[in-house]
């Protein structure tokens, strides 16, 4: 096994393209190393992207935010502008593991590990985040929800690296929120989770909404019926009840040792209500 630490993205893409056997990108390593130690994967080449300066930055520009693929979640949480604009996205990232894990782990790693329970993904999907992908054939920008295609599987082509996550410039009266259900408060895996992202008009009526559920299907679910219920409402009790029903109905979870289908469906609705309210309050404050 070879370990390489390139200093430019071009080198990383080149190494990946030329790797003869199985190659793996290493960001924080908090999934990759666990999978290697568990004997689930045995890469021949490991390409560590943390020495590529450009990937270690968060840039705010006229279009919004560019979050480099190697930015650890702890650093993400310390960025005040990002926290103000996208509190739900930051909330998801800061639920990953513990302080120690957040010192290493990245949202891109979380996305590419393609776990249905990944904590940062529902809020990214609700936020309409996009990924900037670099590969042997050049660059492309795609919606984050198109990247995981099933547990442990992504749509990335061989040789492709995610360079950054792009978040839009925040509109007025907008807010987002994320919550998960776990039996304990830290170092745990979501049994089910929900994220909501809202933009209101000047009268406090929801104009735009996106609702995403985690651990409710093989990939994070974007629930359009649920979003439609919120649009045109003031997130009143009636809308919340219908939102909960729509979310419970949209779930296609599995029964496993972490939770039953029935429980996941019920709690998906409960969490959706709770995050919708929080997102609404946050939106109203801006």
């Amino acid at each position: 096994m070879r370990y390489i630490r390139p200093s430019s993205l071009e080198d990383a893409v080149g190494l990946l393209a030329n790797a003869s056997g199985k190659a793996a990108i290493l960001a924080g390593g908090s999934d990759l190393l666990v999978r290697m130690k568990g004997g689930f994967i045995e890469p021949d080449v490991i390409i560590d992207i943390k020495a590529i300066d450009a990937l270690g930055r968060i840039i705010e520009n006229d279009d919004g935010f560019v979050i480099g693929a190697a930015v650890p979640c702890a650093v993400l949480g310390e960025n005040t502008a990002l926290r103000n604009a996208w509190p739900g996205v930051v909330e998801g990232a800061r639920l990953i593991g513990s302080k120690q894990v957040q010192g290493r782990c990245t949202i891109v790693g979380n996305l590419c590990n393609a776990s249905p329970a990944a904590d940062s993904v529902p809020a990214l999907v609700a936020a309409g985040a996009r990924a900037l992908v670099r590969g042997p054939a050049g660059s492309r920008t795609i919606a984050v929800e198109t990247i995981p295609v099933g547990p442990g599987k992504t749509s990335l082509a061989p040789g492709e690296i995610i360079e950054a996550i792009l978040l839009d410039k925040r509109q007025r009266h907008s807010g987002d929120a994320y919550q998960r259900f776990t039996p304990r408060t830290e170092m745990d895996i979501a049994v089910v989770s929900a994220a909501v992202n809202l933009t209101l008009n000047d009268q406090g009526v929801v104009e735009k909404a996106r609702v995403a559920l985690g651990a409710a299907a093989p990939t994070v679910l974007l629930v359009e019926e649920a979003a439609d219920i919120l649009v045109g409402s003031r997130v009143d009790d009636g809308a919340l009840e219908r939102l909960a029903e729509a979310c419970s109905a949209a779930c296609r979870p599995i029964d496993d040792k972490r939770g039953t289908v029935e429980f996941r469906k019920k709690v998906a609705g409960v969490l959706a209500k709770r995050v919708a309210l929080t997102a609404y309050q946050r939106a109203g404050q801006k």
């Binding site: 259900f181 304990r184 408060t185 170092m187 972490r258 709690v267």
Partner: protein
């Protein structure tokens, strides 16, 4: 308080103070050496091949490929290890013992049992070699539930024992006349209760290192609570005299009772080292601590009690079935202790108890903090709350009316000393203003109407020693050195509880020297006096008394020596803070160093004394008052606040005692709400043998714990009345949580863990 034998009262200088533990600095800096840190020249690594089948006969094992693998030095199977039937728990000839284990057998009794062992030059190579061992099994029908195992015609897991998959003959206790009691009852409550399979999940995985020297002597480092028991069983099974086995254990990363067993890996490690003539280390992975470690016995309890309308308990009929897993281990001890415990706690003259322990094809259950009593008192205490409700009484009043008092016969057969439990309960009621808590709003936050709050009480009592199951003996040797310092030699293991600090405090106090002047030597069976092991909440009580006895003797010798030098009689002298002085004339004094050291014509003194103590038993008591918040939409139960009120007699080290209580509560919260080691009921496979899916509460989940320690019922059995505390907290917290959940949402749970799914399901059924 009603104490029969007077307890010496004195002004304490060291006892009762939270002196700085001398192991904390090396532990927090990472310098403390644990068994896993030991590295010997030429050391090999051992690994165990584990069966992926729950019940089978081994038709053949082919190790040729593994042996040929580069780096592999030895492979052991049932064909080349001694076939000695040996004890499951390391307490030979005690009540907690059964003989049903071989080092390796031609039969597999649970999924994960070791069938072969490899020693290789690295852990990786040993691991890879395991895959090269080919085992052919003949599958046998398996049973995973005690109910199934007890059915006539069920597949038999062992040839030994009383038969019918029983680990021991049923334990029966009869007092008074139960039928007559029920006949007097105004009403009867009957219910079934059950407990899951919580695991101790100690921080340090089991680990050992074996090294044979040229004289054929085995030196054995191991993370054990019972080093002399390990020495004894290794010597017995390997056919060696005790002079040829030396067991070493320094620091330990916890044990909680489970590291007092006869572990297969320990024998295999010693045999691999013997075979290769090189040191061998074996260290469990976290996964192995589950499959090859020891968990708490799952238990089913049927409980029927008769009550009078004034709250008097007139009859108790109880049946308990403990699931032993594939081997007996501590099953007999747990069954006896857990069953007989139900004679007590709440007074009842007519009692009929029956405890069974049954083999199943599941991983082994063993000793674990709360030893069978967690299960039986969970049922007793919850049914008490149900009775209170039926009577329209406050559960605190009903419990107060019925808790054991001084003179009542304890489970051990002894009269109880002091009104410890009554005082704990009353104290908690007073400090919390319990009556007003009962009347408050269950949903105080109008913005969060889905959060309901409740309070519950759990009571417990537990003995400081394993008597009468084991007649114990505590030993200590105290030496006074020529510079006035003191060395205590003890066989008691240091699990991380701070026991050695407490022992040093006792010696310093009794002798009259400073705490800093006492050094503790422990953990080497060739050096320290024999010890039964650190378990049963007894170290401070048992070894503490022995240490005090030894200190009394050396004190007298030191005073004799000083008397000679000061030209007075010894009884005219006193000794305090390392200074020996004439009582009537405090200006005439000398230091212990001056007394001990040489002077012209007088050589330095050699003062050594032993203390040996064989106690019966003392009981400690506790009442836990617990507040929970239940989220009725997600089913999450948050333990918000616990006020544990404990009576542990004389407190030797307050912070260490408090640490035991807080830790026991945290562990008990896990067992009651989130922790369960789950075995697949179709295959016997472990479903969550690891810390990702075995959910222990973490520091962020810890509630506010306001510990109150009373010295309400000191017992003459311990040093200045000290009693045990290690196991008590984990017993009381469980029922206090279950009772608080009922108070919050009006749903009764008779099992643990009580999961969010259980809560939602019950609320739905209730139509809330």
């Amino acid at each position: 308080m009603n104490i029969n034998t007077p307890i010496e009262e004195r002004e304490f200088k060291i006892v009762g103070k939270s002196v700085k533990r001398d192991d904390v600095l090396e532990k927090v800096t990472g310098e403390a050496e644990y068994t896993g840190d030991v590295k010997l020249a030429g050391m090999l690594h051992g690994k165990i091949k584990r069966a992926a089948i729950a019940h089978a006969r081994i038709k053949s094992i082919d190790v040729s490929k593994a042996l040929a693998y580069p780096g592999v030095k030895a492979v052991l199977t049932h064909e080349n290890v001694p076939r000695v039937l040996h004890y499951g728990s390391p307490h030979p000839r005690s009540a907690s013992c059964t003989k049903d284990q071989y080092i390796l057998d031609d039969k597999v009794r649970f999924w994960g049992e070791g069938v072969a062992a490899v020693a290789a030059i690295s852990e990786e190579i040993a691991d890879e070699a395991l895959d090269l061992i080919e085992v052919e099994y003949e599958a046998l029908p398996a049973v995973f539930e005690p109910e199934d195992a007890a059915l006539p015609g069920a597949p038999l897991i062992h040839d030994v024992g009383p038969g019918g998959n029983l680990v021991l003959d049923p334990v029966r206790v009869n007092r008074g006349d139960v039928e007559a009691g029920f006949a007097q009852a105004d009403f009867i409550l009957e219910g079934t209760f059950s407990g899951g399979r919580p695991h101790p999940a100690y921080m340090e995985p089991n680990v050992c290192i074996a090294d044979w020297d040229g004289s054929n002597k085995l030196t054995f480092w191991t993370s054990t609570q019972t080093s002399f028991m390990v020495r004894g069983i290794l010597a017995e099974v390997l056919g060696l005299p005790l002079t040829k086995v030396r067991v070493l254990v320094d620091h330990m990363g916890g044990g909680f009772g489970a590291k007092q067993d006869c572990f297969q890996h320990e024998f295999l490690c010693a045999l691999l080292a013997k075979e290769t003539r090189r040191p061998v280390k074996m260290e469990f992975t976290r996964h192995e601590t589950f499959v090859a470690g020891r968990a708490r016995h799952p238990c089913k309890v049927w409980l029927k009690q008769g009550f009078k309308n004034d709250g008097t308990l007139v009859a108790r009929d109880m049946k308990l079935v403990y699931d032993s897993g594939a081997y007996g281990s501590h099953g007999p001890g747990v069954t006896i202790v857990g069953t007989t415990a139900a004679t007590s706690l709440y007074r009842c003259e007519n009692v009929r108890l029956e405890g069974r322990c049954v083999y199943t094809n599941t991983p082994i259950n063993g000793a674990f903090r709360g030893y069978g009593v967690v299960q039986s008192y969970y049922a007793l205490d919850i049914q008490m709350d149900e009775a209170a409700e039926r009577l329209g009484m406050d559960p605190a009043d009903l419990k107060l009316k019925n808790v054991v008092r001084a003179g009542d016969i304890a489970p051990s057969g002894h009269p109880i000393v002091g009104h410890g439990l009554e005082i704990c309960l009353q104290h908690g009621i007073d400090v919390l203003d319990w009556k007003s808590l009962r009347n408050r709003d269950r949903t105080p936050d109008p913005k969060r109407p889905h959060i309901r709050k409740g309070w519950g009480i759990g009571c417990e009592m537990h003995g400081s020693s394993a008597y009468p199951g084991i007649k114990e003996q505590g030993n200590a040797t105290v030496k006074v050195n020529e510079d006035g310092t003191v060395t205590l030699l003890t066989g008691a293991a240091g699990l991380g509880t701070g026991a050695h600090t407490a022992l040093a405090q006792i010696v310093a106090e009794e002798l009259g020297v400073r705490f800093e002047d006492v050094g503790v030597i422990h953990g080497d069976t060739d050096v320290v006096p024999w010890d039964i092991g650190a378990f049963a909440s007894h170290t401070t009580y048992l070894v503490g008394t022995a240490a005090k006895m030894a200190a009394t003797k050396v004190r007298a010798s030191v005073l004799e020596r000083a008397a000679m030098k000061l030209q007075v009689k010894a009884d005219e002298l006193d000794l305090s803070e390392g200074k020996i002085f004439v009582t009537a004339e405090p200006g005439r004094f000398m230091s212990v160093a001056e007394a001990m050291g040489p002077s012209r014509g007088i050589p330095a003194a050699n003062i050594v004394a032993n203390g040996t103590y064989e106690p019966t038993k003392s009981y400690s008591f506790a009442a836990h008052f617990t507040e929970v918040h239940v989220d009725t939409e997600t089913g999450i139960v948050e333990v918000k606040r616990v006020v544990p009120v404990h009576d542990i007699g004389r407190v030797i080290h307050p912070i260490a005692a408090q640490g035991q209580i807080e830790g026991g509560i945290q562990q008990g919260i896990g067992h009651t709400l989130t922790e369960d080691y789950v075995i697949d009921k179709k295959t016997g496979r472990s479903l969550n043998a690891g810390l990702v899916d075995y959910k222990m509460p973490l520091s962020m989940d810890m509630p506010d714990i306001e510990t109150i320690i009373l010295e309400a019922a000191p017992d003459p059995g311990g040093p200045w009345g000290a009693k045990g505390v290690g196991e008590d907290p984990i017993i009381a917290i469980g029922p206090s949580i279950a009772n608080a959940i009922y108070d919050a949402i009006g749903v009764r749970f008779h099992h643990y863990p009580i999961t969010p799914e259980d809560i939602l399901k019950a609320l739905r059924e209730k139509g809330a």
